[in-house]
């Protein structure tokens, strides 16, 4: 009998209170998703290249899990409280019928367990499904078809999900059960929302709202203009001020809203307008803090989701191979490597095989006399031209000697970057023989350089210099072309005047990172022999996967096969896969956690808003009965209720949108997130905005339906004579 009651009650609470049950399921699903991260295709794939970084990332996951556990604990607590409030009358009745409180609490625990088991089953199924979808989408989206798919079901994730969920359910029930234990039967039987209509003083409300606006204003100001001061510590101040400001704003707003309601009553008495406004006011004024908290949560979630989304958008530009050309770079003994790469088993994978030789230039006086050795290169003319090309404020700073060092950045003027690079490199520049670079040019279908004996070309690393256009460097080319036309010489090496070839296409010299240079001189082969400092000489064999093979099998499959062959050969090598893997890792690490926490915040905020609304609805159900007695139709009441839902969701949402917009603006201008204009920007931004709005709409509709259900259930119960 007892167990049947438990079973029935658990069933009932699932059916009657879909939002409560959905909250539990969501909690379980989100636990599972975070815990099963290690089984995601992308992560499994990355483990092969960046196992250290991935291990670090995965070791962070327990922290995220604990964080999620804490957040969801409050959610569960709130949901359970709502559920128990709904049933307080029933509990009172049990106690009246002689059930002991211990037994009641025990029964609640048993019911909680039942519900939890169902929630766990549902949640793990949904979580596994979602994890599977995420895994597939991500590997399709960023994996370019290389990442094989594996079923991501993880037993340990399931176990920890169960443990974590039951743990927070237990704590929530202990807390709430304890509270129930201490309540009097009368309280349970006749619990009502008999709060006083605390309208506060008019002045106090104005002050609240003003304080709120000022605090928010200061927070916005800090975020927009003082973002990086004091090593970003001000950011926390801004966050605190923003939170406080939101709370004050909501508190003042809720009460001032009553003023609006009373102002409107004189003008129009159409329908249930006043009632709608008052209901909304009550909802906000009595729960201003939690409305403020949901607003803050929505703000954070929008910012986090934008951040995560922008990482994904950025990934697309990171992996487009604008500057990177070669798929493999093999390092090792010249002849042996060449032999291996031209061997029968490797040949299908090799195209555009090219030997890259590189080394530094000698100094004028190798022996030196204690001072630093002097350079063979005199580029003062070029330097002057570059300085002339600088924007005027930099020019002044530089000429007055104010400027001490250079930073190379995509924000800088091109001439400034060139100047910075050459100041450092030109003393003993890297030399690349023309023949090496011609091989590279051939691979991209460009003409050979055919340098004259006294001619060189300048090479700048497009990855490090953040070049927009790989074929031209506008400022440099203008200077060089002008010099060529006027027969002016910009540089001399060992006293010999040298002309510089403009418009050299730039590409990555190797597949990944083994050559990390900013600049080099591409010189005729005899000049390479002449000026090379032999101690610094290195050579690499670069090659690409044949285009035909790529067309047939995609890039990644042959690349993996070639990689396996190279691995067995024992040569040192690097491949574009590492580059790809590293970029992918940044994306995964950056986007997974932020998106996860972002959506978690959003769901929590929505659930709190939903439950709060339904609680109010339940507690004020009698009002709707009165309304219907006074002649209001169900349609009128439902319209009023829909408006209330809309207002209840829109108020925290609108403030959150403003705050989030400020936050995102600041993050863009301080390049915490980079929004690059590429083909993916709009679809992805649009998709995420849609998902966020969809979540809101789903919650709004769910709340409206539950509330509509409550209105339908209203029956005038005649008093007993």
């Amino acid at each position: 009998m007892f167990s049947r009651l438990i079973y029935r009650n658990a069933n009932r609470s699932r059916k009657e209170n879909l939002i409560y049950f959905a909250t539990l399921v969501t909690a379980v699903a989100s636990f599972y998703i975070i815990l099963s991260l290690g089984r995601q295709d992308v992560i499994l794939f990355l483990k092969e290249f960046e196992s250290d970084a991935i291990d670090k990332l995965l070791s962070l996951m327990p922290l995220v899990y604990l964080f999620a556990l804490l957040l969801l604990f409050f959610l569960i607590l709130f949901a359970n409280q709502y559920q128990l409030n709904r049933r307080s009358k029933e509990f009172g009745l049990y106690l009246m019928l002689g059930m002991r409180k211990e037994r009641l609490v025990l029964q609640l625990a048993a019911e909680g367990l039942m519900t939890s088991i169902f929630a766990l089953i549902g949640g793990i199924l949904i979580g596994a499904f979602l994890a599977e979808i995420i895994s597939l989408t991500v590997s399709k989206l960023v994996g370019q078809g290389i990442i094989g798919h594996q079923i991501s079901l993880s037993v340990s994730a399931i176990i920890f999900t169960i443990i974590g969920f039951l743990f927070i359910q237990l704590i929530a029930l202990v807390i709430l059960g304890g509270r129930l234990f201490n309540q009097e039967v009368h309280q349970l039987l006749y619990e009502q929302m008999d709060k006083k209509q605390d309208m506060g003083h008019f002045k106090g409300n104005i002050i609240h709202i003003l304080v709120g606006i000022v605090l928010l204003g200061v927070a916005y100001w800090i975020v927009l203009y003082r973002f990086m001061d004091f090593a970003g510590l001000l950011l926390f101040v801004a966050l605190a001020l923003g939170c406080l400001g939101t709370i004050f704003f909501m508190r003042g707003f809720g009460k001032l809203f009553g003023l609006l309601a009373s102002l409107s009553e004189g003008k129009s008495t159409k329908g249930l307008r006043t009632f709608t406004l008052r209901q909304f006011q009550e909802n906000v004024a009595n729960k201003s803090t939690s409305v403020a908290v949901t607003s803050i949560l929505i703000t954070l979630s929008i910012i986090l989701i934008t951040n995560g989304a922008s990482t994904i958008i950025g990934f697309d530009s990171a992996i487009t191979r604008t500057s990177s050309l070669y798929d493999f770079t093999v390092h090792g003994d010249h002849q042996k490597v060449e032999q291996f790469l031209t061997s029968e088993k490797m040949v299908p994978y090799v195209e555009d095989l090219n030997l890259l030789e590189i080394g530094k230039m000698k100094y004028k006086d190798e022996q030196g006399d204690g001072n630093s050795p002097s350079s063979l290169v005199d580029w003062s003319e070029l330097r002057e031209q570059l300085i002339m090309a600088l924007p005027s404020d930099y020019k002044e700073q530089l000429l007055s000697g104010e400027m001490q060092g250079y930073t190379i950045s995509s924000e800088n003027h091109e001439a400034l970057n060139l100047l910075g690079v050459l100041e450092i490199d030109a003393k003993a520049p890297y030399l690349i023989p023309e023949s090496s670079y011609n091989g590279l040019l051939k691979a991209i279908g460009e003409k050979s350089l055919n340098l004259h004996a006294d001619e060189i070309a300048l090479y700048f690393n497009p990855d490090l210099l953040h070049m927009d256009n790989l074929e031209r460097m506008p400022v440099l080319d203008r200077i060089l072309e002008k010099a060529e036309k006027e027969g002016q010489s910009l540089m001399s090496i060992q006293g010999q005047t040298i002309s510089i070839r403009p418009s050299t296409p730039m590409r990555g010299l190797v597949a990944d990172r083994s050559v990390e240079i900013h600049s080099a001189f591409i010189v005729p082969d005899p000049m390479f022999e002449q000026f090379l400092n032999t101690e610094t000489y290195v050579s690499y064999w670069n090659f690409r996967i044949p285009q035909k093979l790529q067309d047939e099998q995609g890039l990644m499959k042959p690349m993996m096969e070639a990689r396996d062959l190279l691995q067995s050969s024992g040569f040192q090598f690097e491949s574009y896969l590492q580059n790809f893997g590293r970029q992918l890792f940044y994306v995964v690490a950056g986007s997974y956690t932020t998106l996860y926490v972002g959506f978690l915040f959003l769901i929590i905020a929505c659930t709190v808003l939903a439950l709060q609304f339904l609680t109010q609805m339940k507690q004020t159900g009698q009002r709707y009965v009165t309304l219907s007695m006074l002649g209001a139709t169900r349609k009128q009441m439902k319209t009023s209720m829909h408006r209330q839902v809309l207002l209840a969701f829109l108020l925290p949402m609108s403030l959150a949108c403003v705050s989030a917009a400020v936050g995102i603006k600041a993050m863009i201008s301080f390049v915490v997130i980079r929004i690059e204009d590429n083909a993916f920007l709009y679809p992805i931004a649009f998709a995420f905005a849609c998902v966020v709005i969809l979540i809101f709409v789903i919650y709004g509709v769910a709340v409206s339906r539950s509330a509509g259900h409550e209105i339908d259930k209203l029956r005038w119960k005649p008093n007993i004579d």
């Binding site: 009373s262 159409k270 329908g271 007695m629 002649g631 008093n719 007993i720």
Partner: protein, 259 residues
């Protein structure tokens, strides 16, 4: 009976609760008329069916058989749309528990029936002021129910029941939740409203004190009208009260118990 037009006619009203084998006949053929300007009381012991009767008239429940005619129209057969039009505009309600919305101010509560029925506030301004001063609630119009006393609440509720100038006010134990003093004030006001502007009131009560303000009282027991008292012209309230008590004694301790 004078040849006046009948405001409300209750014709052989029956209401059964329960199904088949377990039927309770709450009303078992009740018939009476109400003339315009009457202040009719309905009294009876618990379970006599008096609230069921009121609820049938109030269109809150549908009778099993019989008709309730308001101005000759059978309101007990109305569908919910017609009912919504009647409620709050043609019929005013006064409840034992006031049924004020506690998140609306007094004025908003009073005006609620008008806004539900889409009546322009400007037209109601005069009526509102009139009612407020009559019920002595002008000072508390902008207060919330939680800031009012029980008596004030019920007077606000009374003003609400009258704001749309209904044909009849139905009052269900309006003094049930009030102390004697507040109850007396309220009844004086209702009586005054009945006398001065001829408002028709139908009140259910088992408080003989409140009932003594009525002009006519129907006594109900076991779902049928059992007795009727009519206040004579110039009869003092005290005398009428004594007569009510006698009937009640008969009802409760007299023949009913013997039977």
């Amino acid at each position: 009976m004078t040849r006046q037009e009948k405001l409300l006619e209750v014709q052989d009203l029956q209401k059964n609760f329960g199904k088949k084998d377990n039927i309770t006949k709450a009303l078992n053929g009740v018939s009476f008329d109400i003339l315009p300007g009457e202040f009719l009381g309905i009294m009876g012991p618990s379970g006599s069916g008096k609230t069921t009767l009121l609820n049938c008239i109030a269109t809150i429940i549908k009778p099993t058989a019989g008709r309730v005619l308001l101005h000759g129209k059978n309101i007990s057969a109305f569908d919910s749309k017609d009912l919504a039009e009647y409620r709050g505009s043609r019929i005013g309600y006064l409840f034992q528990d006031f049924a004020l919305l506690d998140n609306l101010t007094g004025q908003e509560n009073i005006l609620l029936p008008l806004s539900i029925h889409g009546v322009d506030f400007a037209k109601a301004r005069v009526k509102l002021d009139e009612l407020a001063s009559f019920f002595e609630i002008t000072d508390i119009l902008h207060k919330f129910p939680s800031q009012m006393s029980g008596g004030q609440k019920q007077r606000v509720a009374a003003a609400r029941s009258l704001i749309s100038d209904p044909d009849i006010v139905l009052a269900d134990e309006p003094t049930g939740a009030l102390d004697t003093r507040s109850a007396k004030i309220l009844m004086n006001k209702l009586e005054g409203m009945n006398r001065s502007s001829g408002k028709t009131i139908l009140m259910v009560s088992h408080d003989p004190n409140a009932a003594s303000f009525c002009s006519r009282i129907l006594f109900i027991q076991d779902g049928v009208i059992f007795h009727e008292l009519r206040r004579k012209q110039d009869e003092s309230r005290e005398k009428f009260y004594d007569r009510i008590l006698k009937v009640l004694a008969q009802l409760g301790g007299g023949s009913a118990n013997v039977l």
